[in-house]
Amino acid sequence: MKCNSAIKYIYLQKELKLSEKQQKQLEDHIAACDKCSMEFSKAGNYFSTITNLKFDESPIEDELVANHVTSRIHALRKSFLEQMIETAEQFLIKPAVRFAIAASILFICLSYAAEEYRALNKINLLENKFSAISNKIIEAGPDLPINTRDIKNFISGDKQYLKLPGSWVIMKETSLIKKIEELSNQPGAELLINNQNDLRLLLNHPEVKKIIEKDDELKKIFNRIILEGAVTHEN
């Protein structure tokens, strides 16, 4: 047996649970080795000192400790709001709840993203259409009484009508209806309609409908127009 092992066995005799053979080897080594014999004597002194230690009796302060603990417990008692927050925290800690919250947030974000994507697509589409129309108009030549600024103003609401090449005029729906209502009070007044959209609005206007219903001649003319597919009637 080597000295290192012997010293370890000396100090941890109980803990290492030496076999009889190891015990015998240890005893033989101690008998033969001065250094380990000295260590054995030190260890014996140590164990006897430790075994004979006498401790002070602990002062029993049950009442004092109980008072301190109870007052601290009272201080620890939480307000209703704190309890609610704690309950919510405990609830949120659960993996299933956290997963559900994360999934909901993800779903909302994706919905917004999809909506945004659709809106962007629509804008792109409109921009493409507008640019195609304006290019066409610009390509039509410098003599035309219309330019892209007129179209922009018409769309933004600054202009109530838009003149197109030839005799075509597009009127804003509100201004056209206003015009029809004005004219309906003036017998014999004339309204020049020169595009299909305005004609459709005219036919669908209640005042005009009344006039048409009363006049058989007019009725025939407009029915023919509708039958020929020039406009669609909203009845």
């Binding site: 100090y11 803990e15 430790i50 230690l53 029993i60 109980a66 603990v69 109870t70 601290r72 620890l76």
Partner: protein, 196 residues
């Protein structure tokens, strides 16, 4: 203390009342086990004030975690584990303070080892002497020594309660014993010289 089934039942009853918020029941539980907890803390820290602080902190911790108490284990086992771990924390923080700020520790740590030893020779106060040696040990060695040699826990319990491996407990115990044995031996030779 739990001396029989009736005591265990009483403890269980006090615990279940405490869980439902009855502070009077918890107060009774504290009074019932204060002596036990104090003895453990004192035999680890060797300072009544520190031991009392640790005991109070242990009961507060127990109050906070009463719902997690496993009724299959003895209440004293749970209490022991909490007290020992708080003692270990205190030993470690004392050690850190000493290292960083060179702060004096408890009443015994205020005395230099040499003073303490001189006094113990005169008074033959072996507890004081062993304590002064133990205070110079690293925290792991100190707690293992306290649990095994002062409180007579076996190595398996020590390992489980401190969350250390068995081999680590044995190594720390070996080093602690060897250091303290060497110091005792020196003191003994000085004592013999003084007597001569």
């Amino acid at each position: 203390m739990e001396t029989g089934i009736s005591n265990q039942n009483k403890t269980r009853e006090l615990i279940s009342k405490s869980i439902s918020g009855d502070t009077d029941a918890f107060r009774m539980l504290v009074k019932e086990y204060n002596g036990y907890a104090h003895a453990i803390a004192y035999k680890t820290l060797f300072n009544h004030d520190d031991a009392r602080d640790v005991v109070q902190e242990s009961f507060i911790r127990i109050w906070k975690h009463l719902r997690n108490f496993n009724p299959e284990i003895k209440f004293t086992t749970w209490l022991y584990k909490i007290v020992i771990n708080l003692c270990y924390d205190r030993i470690k923080s004392r050690n850190r303070s000493k290292l960083i700020f060179n702060e004096p520790g408890d009443e015994y740590e205020n005395i230099s080892a040499a003073d303490s030893i001189e006094k113990s020779i005169i008074d033959n106060d072996q507890v004081r002497m062993i304590l002064s040696f133990a205070n110079e040990l690293p925290p792991k060695q100190k707690i293992v020594f306290m649990m095994r040699d002062i409180q007579n826990c076996n190595v398996e319990e020590t390992s489980e309660l401190l969350g250390m491996s068995l081999s680590s407990v044995k190594t720390n115990l070996f080093n602690a014993r060897k250091t303290i044995a060497a110091r005792i031996s020196k003191i003994e030779s000085r004592r013999i010289n003084n007597e001569m």
